[in-house]
C-alpha cells in the first residue's frame, strides 16, 4: 500500500523553461511555454529598471487608465451582484453607481491623455505598431462599453440616448442585430461582452508594452545624421532585413 504524500511528480522541465526530454520539444504546451518565456522573460515582464528618458508626468496616465479600469470593473461587479434596479432604490446602490460613473469618467480622461501623449511621442516607432493599434481599438471598444452602460441606466437619460442613438446605428444597418432600445440586450453587452473584449485588449496592450518597452525619444535633428542605428527598437531586426546608415524622413 502506498500513501500519496502530495509531492508533485518530477515533470522533467529544465530550469531554463525548456522541455526536459527531446521528445517533449514537440508538445504544444512546451512550445507555448517556451515562446512565452522568449517573448516575455521575467525581467522584461516585471522590470525593476527603466530607461532614464521615462521622466515625465505624461507617463502616469497609462497606469492611471489601468487603475481606473480596475475600479470600473470592481464597482460594476458590485452593481451586478445586487441587480440592475438596486441603485435606483437604495442610497448605498446610488453611491456604488456614483463610484462606477466617476471611475468611468477618470478612465476616459486618463486614456485620452495617454493616447495623445503616445501620439506626440510617435510611440509606434520601433516595432510598436501593434501596441498602438491595440490601444486605439481598446479606446473604441471602451466607447461602446460606456455607451451601452448609459443605455442600461433605466432612467430618463437612457431613454433619451437610446431613442436618439438608434438613428445612427440603424442607418448603418447594425440596428438589425444591435437594438439600442432593447434594455436586456444592451445590459448583456455592457456587463459581459464588451468588458470581456476591453479587458482582453488592454491585457494584450500591456503585454506588448512589456515586450517592446517604452519608445525612446526622437534623435535631435542636428544629431540624426551621425547616429547610425544598428537595431530597430528593442527587438532584433528580422533575418531578412537590415538597416542602412542613411536617414530618410
Amino acid at each position: 500500500m502506498t500513501i500519496d504524500t502530495g509531492t508533485p511528480p518530477d515533470l522533467g522541465v529544465a530550469a531554463d523553461g525548456s522541455a526536459g526530454l527531446p521528445e517533449d520539444a514537440g508538445q504544444l504546451t512546451a512550445k507555448l511555454r517556451n515562446a512565452a518565456l522568449e517573448a516575455l522573460p521575467p525581467e522584461r515582464m516585471m522590470p525593476d529598471r527603466q530607461p532614464a528618458y521615462v521622466a515625465s508626468w505624461i507617463y502616469v496616465f497609462g497606469v492611471i487608465t489601468v487603475a481606473a479600469l480596475a475600479v470600473v470593473i470592481v464597482t460594476g461587479m458590485v452593481l451586478s451582484v445586487m441587480g440592475p434596479t438596486w441603485w435606483h432604490l437604495s442610497s448605498t446602490g446610488l453611491f456604488v453607481n456614483s463610484l462606477h460613473m466617476w471611475s468611468v469618467e477618470i478612465f476616459f480622461f486618463a486614456m485620452i491623455i495617454h493616447l495623445w501623449g503616445k501620439f506626440f511621442m510617435a510611440a509606434w516607432r520601433g516595432r510598436r505598431r501593434a501596441t498602438w493599434i491595440t490601444g486605439v481599438v481598446s479606446f473604441v471598444v471602451s466607447v461602446g462599453a460606456a455607451f451601452t452602460g448609459y443605455l442600461s441606466q433605466q432612467n430618463f437619460d437612457s431613454q433619451w440616448i437610446s431613442t436618439q442613438a438608434k438613428d445612427g446605428i440603424n442607418s448603418t444597418g447594425a440596428g438589425a442585430i444591435f437594438n439600442v432600445t432593447n434594455f436586456g440586450q444592451m445590459l448583456m453587452w455592457h456587463i459581459m461582452l464588451l468588458p470581456l473584449v476591453v479587458v482582453l485588449l488592454v491585457g494584450i496592450h500591456v503585454l506588448l508594452v512589456r515586450r517592446r518597452g517604452v519608445v525612446p525619444p526622437f534623435a535631435l535633428p542636428d544629431r540624426s545624421a551621425e547616429q547610425v542605428p544598428t537595431t530597430v527598437g528593442s527587438a532584433p531586426v528580422t533575418a531578412n532585413e537590415t538597416i542602412t546608415n542613411e536617414v530618410t524622413p
Partner: protein
C-alpha cells in the same frame, strides 16, 4: 541548404517616424508593482471623493402613463398619428417597417435597406388597436374598432385626417380629451379610450415587446414616447437635444460622454446638420477617421506629425537637457549616459 537562406537581406533606410535607435543610456530603479498599487489607491480615493461630493444623476424615466397624465393632448395628438400611420415610427423604414424611400444612403450604399426589417412595428395595430382589444368588458371600444377596421382605407383616412386637424385644438377636461365636434367616425372613441388606458398605466404594460411573462425589450414603448413632443421638450430643457451637442451631455450638470465630442460635432456643421442622410454620413466619417487613427503608423505624412510639431521636446525635455549638458564636456554627441557601464542593466530591459 534551403533557398530561403540564400535570399538577399532586404535593405531599408532608417526612417525616424518608423524606427528608433536602441537605448544604450542610463537606467533608473523602477518599482512596477508599487506604481500600480499607488495608482489604484489614488484613483480610488479620487473616485470616492467625487462620488461623495457629487453623487450621480438618476432622473426618473418617462412612462406612457406619466406622459399622458402630464400632457394628455400631446399624447392624443401622437396617438392619432400612430393610428393613421403618419408618425415618426410609422414612417421610419428599416429596421421597423418597409416605408419606401426613407432609407439613408451614400450613393448606392444603402445599409439599412440591405439589412431589412428586424423589429417589425405596425403602429396602428401595435400602439392603438391591439392594446385597446386587451381591455376587458369594453363593448363600446370593441364596436369602434370593428367599425374602423371594416371601413375602406379612404374612409379611415377621412376620419383620421379630420380628427388630426381638430386634435390640435383639443383640451383636456374632466379626465377626457375634448375635441371640437366633427365627423371622426369611431376615431374619437378609439383615441379617447387609448388616452384613458394610458393614464391608467395599462398601456405601459401592453406595449412591452414580449410574448412571455418576462420582458426586457422596451422598443415599442420607447419609440411611441419618442414620437411625441413631451420627451424631446424635457430633453431640450436638460440641454440634451441634437443641436445642443446632446449625445455627449448628461442630465443636470454632470459630465456625460465627453469622448463623443467629435461624433457630435459633425451634426452641428453644414452640410451635415441639414442632410437627410446625416446619420449614415457621420458614421461613415467616424469609421474612416477611426481606421486612420488605428493605422496611423503606416500612413506617411500623418505619422510624421509628432516629429514636425515637436511636442515631444516638452515630453522628453529632461532627456534633451541631459543630452545637452552631457555634450558640453565632450565632442561626441552619442547617447547621454554611455559613460557609465555600471548604470546599464545586463539586459536591454524595457518597461
Amino acid at each position: 541548404m534551403s533557398a530561403a537562406s540564400h535570399a538577399t537581406p532586404k535593405v531599408r533606410a532608417f526612417k525616424p517616424d518608423r524606427d528608433v535607435e536602441e537605448w544604450h543610456g542610463k537606467y533608473v530603479p523602477y518599482d512596477l508593482i508599487k506604481e500600480v498599487i499607488v495608482a489604484i489607491v489614488v484613483v480610488s480615493v479620487l473616485v470616492v471623493g467625487l462620488a461623495v461630493i457629487f453623487s450621480s444623476p438618476d432622473d426618473k424615466p418617462v412612462t406612457v402613463q406619466s406622459w399622458s397624465t402630464t400632457n394628455p393632448v400631446d399624447f392624443a395628438q401622437t396617438a392619432i398619428t400612430e393610428l393613421d400611420g403618419t408618425s415618426g415610427t410609422a414612417t421610419y423604414g428599416p429596421p421597423y417597417n418597409n416605408t419606401p424611400d426613407v432609407s439613408q444612403s451614400i450613393g448606392p450604399i444603402n445599409p439599412d435597406k440591405w439589412a431589412g426589417v428586424h423589429h417589425p412595428i405596425n403602429t396602428s395595430l401595435d400602439y392603438v388597436l391591439n392594446p385597446l382589444r386587451s381591455l376587458p368588458h369594453s363593448p363600446q371600444v370593441e364596436a369602434a374598432i370593428t367599425e374602423y377596421q371594416s371601413a375602406t382605407p379612404a374612409q379611415q383616412a377621412a376620419w383620421t385626417a379630420a380628427y388630426e386637424k381638430s386634435v390640435a385644438k383639443a383640451t383636456f377636461v374632466n379626465g377626457s380629451v375634448q375635441v371640437p365636434t366633427g365627423d371622426y367616425g369611431p376615431v374619437g372613441v378609439i383615441i379617447g379610450s387609448l388616452t384613458s388606458m394610458a393614464r391608467s398605466g395599462a398601456l405601459d404594460g401592453a406595449l412591452v415587446s414580449s410574448h412571455q411573462f418576462y420582458g426586457t425589450d422596451y422598443t415599442k414603448p420607447l419609440l411611441f414616447i419618442a414620437d411625441g413632443t413631451y420627451l424631446s421638450d424635457l430633453a431640450q430643457g436638460q440641454h440634451l437635444s441634437g443641436d445642443q451637442w446632446g449625445m455627449m451631455n448628461e442630465t443636470g450638470s454632470y459630465p456625460g460622454q465627453a469622448w463623443l465630442w467629435l461624433y457630435t460635432l459633425w451634426y452641428q456643421v453644414a452640410p451635415l446638420n441639414t442632410s437627410a442622410n446625416a446619420d449614415l454620413q457621420v458614421w461613415a466619417i467616424m469609421m474612416v477617421l477611426t481606421v486612420l487613427l488605428a493605422l496611423l503608423p503606416f500612413i506617411p505624412g500623418l505619422r510624421s506629425i509628432p516629429r514636425w510639431t515637436r511636442v515631444y521636446r516638452l515630453i522628453w525635455r529632461q532627456h534633451y537637457r541631459d543630452l545637452g549638458s552631457d555634450n558640453e564636456g565632450r565632442t561626441s554627441t552619442t547617447s547621454p549616459a554611455t559613460s557609465s557601464a555600471s548604470e546599464s542593466p545586463p539586459v536591454h530591459s524595457t518597461v
